[in-house]
């Protein structure tokens, strides 16, 4: 994806005036509804005011945020390494590609909930379960994006580099990896939002720490304010991570016109 397209899609970590305005309008409507709820026959706890949500935000436990963040980043790094390594192997072996491609398509078609259930049924350790689910969901995205990007490296550039007789390692280091960086950054952006959602569901089911677990607790306590507060934290976390990736992208892809 071109930087311009990211900007249009709002994925570059910046906010337009319209975006801020639409959030403010939503907040105003929410606040108005929270006051009108009792008059409309809606229980007061269902639409808490921002003051109430603010109080919930003050009770956010940073350790749960850090745990979720660590799970997301750890699993994404693992997925990235595994995905790119397999993509390299597939690029080098047509036979391996023939075997792996259908399997990856199958993996990508499996719903997240099924992966979570498999993880719960197959594994004991909570961290292992969460990592398994995240890798199963995010790994194939990295793999397919990296593989397709490698195949799309212009033939002219491949022949030029090969004419200078690089070793296999040099070939990937000097040509393939730098050439697919834009695609890898796109994969990171896609996988970040995917991973945040998946980790939350996974934590919701089996974990005793993390944002997902705190959401489960809030649900048990019928505290919409807490759910709202933790959701805000999740969204903020995603925006923060996206901003980091956008910064890396601007730095790494500064050569682009």
């Amino acid at each position: 994806m071109h930087p311009e397209e990211y900007r249009e899609a709002g994925l570059d970590g910046r906010f337009s005036r319209q975006a801020v305005l639409s959030v403010l309008i939503f907040a105003a409507l929410w606040e108005a509804l929270s006051y009108l709820a009792p008059a409309l026959g809606i229980p007061a706890f269902a639409i808490p005011s921002f003051a109430r949500i603010g109080r919930s935000l003050l009770t956010i436990t940073p350790i749960d945020v850090l745990v979720t963040l660590a799970r997301v980043i750890g699993a994404l790094i693992l997925s990235f390494v595994l995905g790119v390594a397999l993509a390299v192997l597939m690029y080098q072996s047509q036979r391996l590609e023939n075997y792996l491609r259908p399997m990856i398509r199958l993996f990508m078609a499996v719903p997240v909930v099924s992966w979570i259930l498999f993880a719960v049924l197959w594994f004991r350790g909570v961290e292992f379960r969460i990592a398994f689910v995240l890798i199963a969901v995010c790994g194939p995205v990295f793999l397919i994006d990296a593989f397709d990007a490698m195949r799309n490296v212009p033939r002219e550039l491949r022949r030029m580099v090969r004419s200078f007789r690089p070793t296999a390692l040099q070939y990937f280091g000097k040509l393939m990896f730098p050439a697919i960086v834009p695609n890898l950054i796109t994969s990171w952006k896609i996988n970040l939002s995917l991973a945040i959602r998946v980790v939350t569901i996974a934590e919701l089911v089996g974990a005793v720490t993390g944002i997902g677990h705190q959401l489960a607790v809030a649900q048990e306590l019928f505290s919409v304010a807490d759910v709202f507060a933790w959701t805000l934290v999740l969204v903020a976390l995603l925006f923060l991570l996206e901003a980091v990736v956008a910064r890396v992208e601007r730095r790494v892809l500064r050569w682009r016109a």
């Binding site: 004419s163 200078f164 007789r165």
Partner: protein, 260 residues
């Protein structure tokens, strides 16, 4: 400088299979050729005659179907690594890596032969200066004109001080003035470095203007003529041009145009 190794092409044949039909296409048919060290040879032929296939075979990116190419007794395909830093190429398009600056593009071949960072920097800068691009060392390819990019590509080829230089239609896409200027630079540098230079082109003017020798290939890369340019006076170049054109049109060998 040690003389570059001679190039021997013997009964070279290359057959491709068409992807869709599987039908064989003969690109090169039993070609025999000898190129002496430090010779500047222009290979000319019509589009689709197998010139670029010959180029790929010479740099070792393709394997011959039959026959052989030997450079100093070794084959560029079979002894691929042996020729690291010995053969350099300039292609039709500059083929610069867009994420690297001009300087880093020139450094590429030196990185592959694992020269020290200092040496890489010094040599690359030297060649950029020789090509008149010292002020553009930090520029990215998209910030350079077509001619400047091709200069960077030429610097990238010379930076390893190769024994053999191959250029595949390297100046054909540039305007006449830039092309003539770059061609001149390329040849004088090749002579200065003592490299064997092989220029593949479809332009007769270019072939006559640059080569010590012109090899004319017919369809399926058969040898139609092997011309020693030194035997022709400059005023006879128009006649030579016509003779080559007639040979290409007839697609038949012209014994008058064969070297002794």
């Amino acid at each position: 400088m040690i003389a570059p190794p001679p190039i021997e092409v013997r009964q070279l044949r290359k057959v491709f299979r068409q992807t869709a039909s599987g039908e064989p296409v003969v690109a090169i048919d039993r070609l025999d050729l000898d190129i002496a060290p430090r010779e500047v040879v222009a290979i000319v032929g019509q589009t689709g005659c197998g010139k670029s296939t010959l180029f790929d075979l010479m740099i070792g990116l393709e394997r011959p179907t039959a026959g052989s190419i030997r450079i100093g007794g070794k084959t560029p395909y079979g002894d691929f690594d042996h020729f690291r830093g010995q053969i350099a190429t300039v292609f039709q398009q500059d083929r610069l890596l867009p994420w690297r600056s001009a300087l880093d593009n020139v450094k590429l071949p030196l990185e592959l032969i694992r020269l020290s960072d200092d040496e890489q920097h010094k040599r690359s800068l030297f060649w950029l200066e020789r090509l008149g691009l010292a002020n553009f060392a930090r520029a990215y390819p998209h910030e350079l004109s077509g001619g400047m990019r091709q200069r960077v590509a030429i610097a990238r080829a010379f930076v390893v001080q190769p024994n053999i230089l191959l250029a595949d239609e390297a100046f054909g896409h540039l305007d006449e003035v830039t092309a003539a200027e770059l061609r001149e630079t390329f040849l004088s540098l090749a002579r200065e470095c003592g490299s064997t230079a092989i220029l593949i082109t479809h332009q007769l003017e270019e072939a006559i203007g640059v080569g010590d020798r012109i090899i004319v290939l017919g369809r399926a890369a058969r040898l139609l003529a092997d011309i020693d340019v030194a035997r022709w006076e400059k005023r006879e170049f128009a006649i030579l041009r016509e003779a080559i054109q007639a040979t290409l049109q007839n697609n038949a060998q012209d014994l008058r145009l064969m070297r002794a």
